[in-house]
Structure formats: C-alpha cells, structure tokens
C-alpha cells in the first residue's frame, strides 16, 4: 500500500526564526510542505514550494495580534495541514493553536535565541504542542520542553 503524503505547514516569523526553519528542511522531505512567514521577500529562498504570507505581530500589540491571528486562522482553515511545525514566534503560536483545534499534530521548536528562558509564545504553545522542544539542554525538564538537538 502506498503511504499517503502528509501535508505539513512550516510557519515562522521572519529573521532568525525563518533562518532556523530553513535549516530543518531535510526533516520535511516526503511531506507536501507549505512554507509560511511574514514577508513576501523570503519567497525566493524556497524554490517552487508553496509559499503563503501571514501578518506579523512582533510587538504583542492588540490590533496586530488580532490581525495576525486571523490571517493564520484563514491559512490553517483553508489548508488543513496534517502536521504543523513552528520555530516561533506569535504567528507560529497561532498556527499551533488553530492547528490543534483542527486535529493537526503540532511541533514547537523554540528559537535558539531563547537561551535563558523559553519565549513567551513557546510557553503559551505548551498545551497545544504534541512535540514541545527547546534547543538548549539546560532549559529541558520533566514538565518543561524536551531537548532533541539544535539547528547548529
């Protein structure tokens, strides 16, 4: 029997979050991957793979958060991915949250930039992430995130 291909949404903010996401690509081979981030300018970096932009919400400011959440909701609702992976930040949290509501399996990989405390969006993602990872061994714990390696 031929295994059905999984639809996977790889979603992150720009800058370092996006750089870290691109370093995960070998793990996504075999899935139908949709990449999503906050700026059209990143499209050129992923070749022919499907690419969608969502609104950013870096300031944790109410209106931009709402707009970001809504754009992520539309994306998840339309695409109904089987798996969602995010390297942060706010748009990634929204994707994990809405994805979980629609039955997706979810992965949160907290950014390498959070070396002393997990990010706020990472802490919020805990109840909705099936795989909840930090990239720093000293931040992993029994009730905390797991450490399975980093993007370096």
């Amino acid at each position: 029997m031929i295994k059905p291909r999984l639809k996977l949404l790889a979603i992150s903010s720009g800058g370092g979050h996006w750089v870290q996401m691109l370093r995960l690509r070998p793990a996504l081979v075999g899935c139908d991957v949709i990449f999503s981030t906050v700026s059209e300018s990143y499209r050129s970096e992923i070749g022919d793979a499907p690419f969608r932009t969502v609104h950013d919400a870096t300031q944790w400011e109410k209106f931009s958060l709402f707009r970001s959440a809504f754009s992520v909701f539309l994306l998840v609702y339309k695409e109904r991915p089987d798996v969602i992976i995010s390297t942060g930040s706010a748009p990634g949290f929204f994707a994990i949250f809405f994805g979980k509501c629609f039955g997706a399996r979810t992965i949160w990989l907290d950014s390498l930039a959070n070396a002393e405390v997990l990010s706020l969006s990472g802490r919020l993602a805990k109840p909705f992430a099936d795989l909840w990872l930090t990239q720093w061994p000293h931040l992993a714990s029994m009730n905390g995130p797991e450490f399975k390696g980093n993007v370096l």
Binding site: M1, K3, P4, L6, L8, G14, G15, G16, H17, W18, V19, Q20, R23, L24, R25, P26, A27, L28, G30, C31, S41, Y42, S44, E45, T58, Q59, W60, D82, V83, I85, R105, I107, L109, S111, L112, A113, N114, A115, E116, V117, S119, D130, L131, L133, Q135, W136, K148, G149, N150, V151, L152
Partner: protein, 165 residues
C-alpha cells in the same frame, strides 16, 4: 569590507553610532551598513535601510567581517558563510528590544566560540581597534544537526504510519 546589519525589526542606533564614530576616527571607508528601521543615519558609512535578500546575501558572502546585533539569524549566517562576526546585544533596559534575550544569546554564543561579543559601546570600539583578533568560527553546514532532524522525522513519520494503517 565590513558589513554591518542590525536586523529588520527594530532600530539599533547605539551600534550604528559606535561603528560610525570608529569609521570617522580611523578613516575606514570599507564599511556598508543595513540600518533597518533606525531613524538616525550614519555620517561616515555607506548605508541603506534594507537590501533585497539576494543583494544582502551577496554583501554577506563577500564581507571580511560581520558586525551585528546579537540576532540568531545573523550569527547562523556568519557561521554558514565562514565569516568572523562581532555582535553587540540589544538591551531591553535601553529600549532596544522587548526583553534581554540578545544578552543571553551573546553570552552563550561567546561561550561556544561561535561569535565575538562586545557587551557595550566601549568594548565595541576596542574590539574594532584590533580586527586581527577576530578569528572565524568553524563552518556549519546548511542544515540542522542530525539528532534534531531525526527526532523531527520520527515524529512526522509516526503519523504517516498511523494514517496508512
């Protein structure tokens, strides 16, 4: 050529002013800065607010030294392109970021030997006076470590088996 970048998200004028002062004092012309959303413009350095990704990459690839905020994306790029990198962390206490995560990043990356760090303006100036001491860290490949990739593969594949069963 020294390539200065402060990320696209928030201004970081303290870093630009320090490098600009150094450029004025030494007369060094071989500097280019992507200044992002900073409102203040350097007087002694060629600069632009944003470069398109392809040009950014080219500037990065051809630079002799990267001077930057302590952003993880910039540090990863420097390691990939085998460039020496000198970072100054943004300080939330000075209104340069929302929290002090860059201070943590800078400390950890310095401890791992991945980046050179100037924790303040004075240290940045003294580090720039001694460019030869800024050695390059070992190159990293284009992708994450195999242990992390395998953990992700395992998690993704287990759903594939479930839906095939």
């Amino acid at each position: 050529m020294i390539f200065v970048t402060v990320g696209s998200d928030l201004p970081f004028e303290r870093l630009l002013k320090t490098v600009d002062r150094w450029a004025a004092e030494t007369g060094c012309k071989e500097i280019f800065a992507q200044i992002g959303s900073s409102r203040w413009t350097p007087k002694h350095i060629d600069c632009l607010p944003f470069l398109p990704p392809s040009i950014f990459k080219e500037r990065f690839r051809t630079a002799d030294l990267i001077v930057a905020h302590a952003g993880m994306g910039t540090i990863l790029s420097a390691l990939f392109y085998e460039k020496p990198i000198l970072v100054m962390p943004r300080r939330a206490s000075l209104g340069e970021d929302r929290n002090e995560h860059q201070l943590a990043t800078a400390r950890r990356m310095q401890a791992l030997g991945k980046a050179h760090v100037a924790f303040d303006d004075a240290e940045m100036l003294s580090r720039l006076q001694n460019l030869n001491a800024l050695v390059t860290a070992p190159k990293i490949g284009p992708y994450a470590g195999e242990d992390l990739l395998n953990a992700l593969r395992e998690f993704i594949d287990c759903g594939q088996q479930k839906s095939a069963a």
